[in-house]
Amino acid sequence: MLEIQNLHVKLAEEDKVILHGLDLKIGAGEVHAIMGPNGSGKSTLSYVLSGRDGYEVTAGSAKLQGAELLDMEPEERAAAGLFLAFQYPVEIPGVGNMTFLRTALNAQKKARGEDEVSAGEFLKLVRAKAKTLKIDAEMLKRPVNVGFSGGEKKRNEILQMAMLEPRMCILDETDSGLDVDAMKLVADGVNALRSAGRSFLVITHYQRLLDHIKPDVVHIMSAGRIIKTGGPELALDVENNGYADLVAEAE
């Protein structure tokens, strides 16, 4: 599904290198988790993959089902099936959540040469999906993320994911700022979307999210590289012993 090879990334404005030759391969239907200490480049990886400004790729490639993501505009990556659930979802005053969702869905469909969804169909779809995520009608009417609590923002990310049905979902610290109940709700939303044709990359600091979203593979990232890869037990190991030993071992 996603194949990243030897990815080198620096900040566009300064000579600070963040990713030093990162390799990562995620198969169809797999859930991978990336853990790592602060500043290891986890969020940078998610931004570079989704096409945010401010980063310069100096070497390497990132392919989604064989197509080079790094050559695409952010909207083209989305239409190709990439989705990033933001660590800090952005508030957009003046743009209604429904308008936003429908505009995004139809823009992707248009880019893929598919028929657009009618207003009626869309409404039915969004109501059903919102209900399972406990997003009420009021939240759908409000401007995107404006006045949403931390939990509501993250649920709104998962709603977008459910509506847009991407192939490759990246969750950037989706657990940050969530209480246990909210995390459970978000995890249930993600688990409901797991399928043979859809892959996930879950970026997190803590093992606890992985109790709810069970990964197939866990990677440890440090200083812009994957330093260790293992099964779910690797996450437990980190939870008990921290990153220090692993980082020392890698160096």
């Binding site: 945010r52 952010p74 909207e75 933001f86 952005v90 505009t103």
Partner: protein, 428 residues
């Protein structure tokens, strides 16, 4: 002394081609206005109130040539709204393009005809609100309209008017210099909606005087024409009795020079005045909103919401003042003026002012200028919305607070559609 002389000479040149109509109640009002105008002269850039907008093209003897513009690529404004149409072409009434001026709950007359009578209800309104609006700052172009307007409408609403009255202004001569003056009286408990649209002339000078009696409602939505080269100086003078409602919204797309003055006095208690504007300008575009709201009654509410989208060197001006008189307790005044600058060449000049002589009031004002939020833009794109569409969405979102001031959703949607079309045409 030299300045006063220059103002007088400019006035003499400006009005040389216009003749003062005599006779009837209107003749007396015009003569009075001319005397006041003589003492003021024409405005010049050195006047404090014209600091950010050069009035010279509005005061020069002949209207600068304005090329005609074909706006046929989109349907005319309010096309889907059932309304009574009154059309002026270059300031001249066009009966063929106008409806019969009869409508339940209201009387509508043309100034040019009704002015000849000896007695008329408009005698107690015409030029009077304009004259009140001359303090503390002179607005000579408005007085010129009182003296020299060739036509206009006199509207007296006595009940709930069943459909909007739509004033349509067409521009068909490159050198037309139109002066119009309207009076609107909303009687106790009456309710009327006035729509205006079109460029009107190469140069337009216009006044609308609005008196809203107790419990009356006045709604006004204006779409200023798309002609790139037109110039306009418009004034609205309004006076509100207790429990009266006044709402005015203006959308402006294009126009070399637009100066929209709105002067509102809240005389009675518990009255509300909302004045809003959305303008979009690309290139040779100068748009000035100058607002003056006086709170004299208690517990009145006023809102000013002005949003400007500017690119390629376009200039936006906002001068907004709230004056709270002694005794106007529990006043609730709100003022926001914001510009979205789509490049580094555009400019927004804002002068918000509050002057408060009562001690139990709530007044707030804010003014900002900025670019489109990159974070929000990326968020939209990351969900698959193409760049241009995302930008349009952000611009409309920026304008939304102003458009929300339109009371009628069908009219609001008409305005939104026009703004969307403008954004598509001005993507570069």
């Amino acid at each position: 002394m030299a300045l006063a002389l220059a103002k007088t000479e400019a006035l003499n040149a400006r009005i040389a081609r216009h003749s003062l109509q005599k006779g009837g109640w209107l003749g007396a009002a015009r003569a009075g206005a001319l005397a006041r105008l003589g003492a003021m002269g024409m405005p010049v850039k050195r006047d404090e109130y014209w600091r950010y907008t050069d009035p010279s093209s509005l005061t020069v003897a002949n209207a600068p040539i304005a090329a005609l513009f074909d706006a046929g690529d989109e349907p005319p404004a309010y096309g889907a709204i059932d309304r009574l149409k009154i059309t002026f072409v270059d300031g001249v009434f066009d009966p063929a393009a106008s409806d019969d001026l009869t409508l339940s709950g209201v009387t509508i007359e043309r100034l040019a005809l009704a002015g000849k009578a000896d007695i008329h209800w408009a005698r107690d309104l015409f030029g009077l609100l304009e004259e009140r609006g001359q303090t503390p700052v002179e607005r000579p172009l408005a007085t010129m309209s009182t003296a020299f307007a060739t036509d206009g409408v006199l509207i007296r609403a006595t009940g709930k008017v069943t459909k909007p009255i739509s004033l349509i202004y067409e521009h068909k001569s490159e050198t037309s210099d139109a002066i119009l003056h309207h009076c609107i009286k909303v009687e106790q408990g009456a309710d009327v909606t006035i729509l205006e649209n079109g460029p009107a002339a190469a140069r337009l000078t216009m006044v609308m005087e609005v008196e809203v009696a107790e419990g009356g409602s006045f709604h006004h939505i204006r779409t200023q024409g798309r002609d790139h080269e037109r110039r306009a100086a418009t004034h609205i003078f309004a006076r509100l009795a207790s429990d009266a409602l006044f709402k005015s919204f203006t959308v402006t797309a294009n126009g070399r020079l637009t100066r929209n003055d709105v002067v509102v006095e809240l005389i009675g208690h518990d009255a509300a005045a909302h004045i809003a504007g959305a303008c979009v300008g690309d290139g040779d575009f100068h748009h000035d909103d100058t607002i003056f709201i006086t709170h004299a009654g208690e517990r009145c509410e006023s809102r000013q919401v002005f949003k400007k989208v500017l690119k390629n060197g376009a200039v936006g001006v906002f001068q907004g003042k709230i004056l709270v008189r002694q005794g106007a307790q529990k006043t609730d005044g709100y003022q926001i003026s914001q510009a979205l600058l789509l490049d580094d060449d555009s400019q927004f000049l804002a002068k918000p002012e509050l002057e408060i002589y009562a001690d139990d009031v709530k007044c707030s004002h804010g003014s900002t200028s900025g670019a489109i939020d990159d974070g929000a833009l990326f968020y939209l794109r990351s969900r698959g919305v193409p760049l241009k569409e995302a930008q349009s969405l952000m611009v409309l979102a920026f304008l939304a607070e102003a458009i929300e001031e339109i009371h009628d959703e069908a009219i609001a949607e008409d305005v939104r559609e026009r703004l969307r079309n403008w954004l598509v045409r001005h993507e570069k």
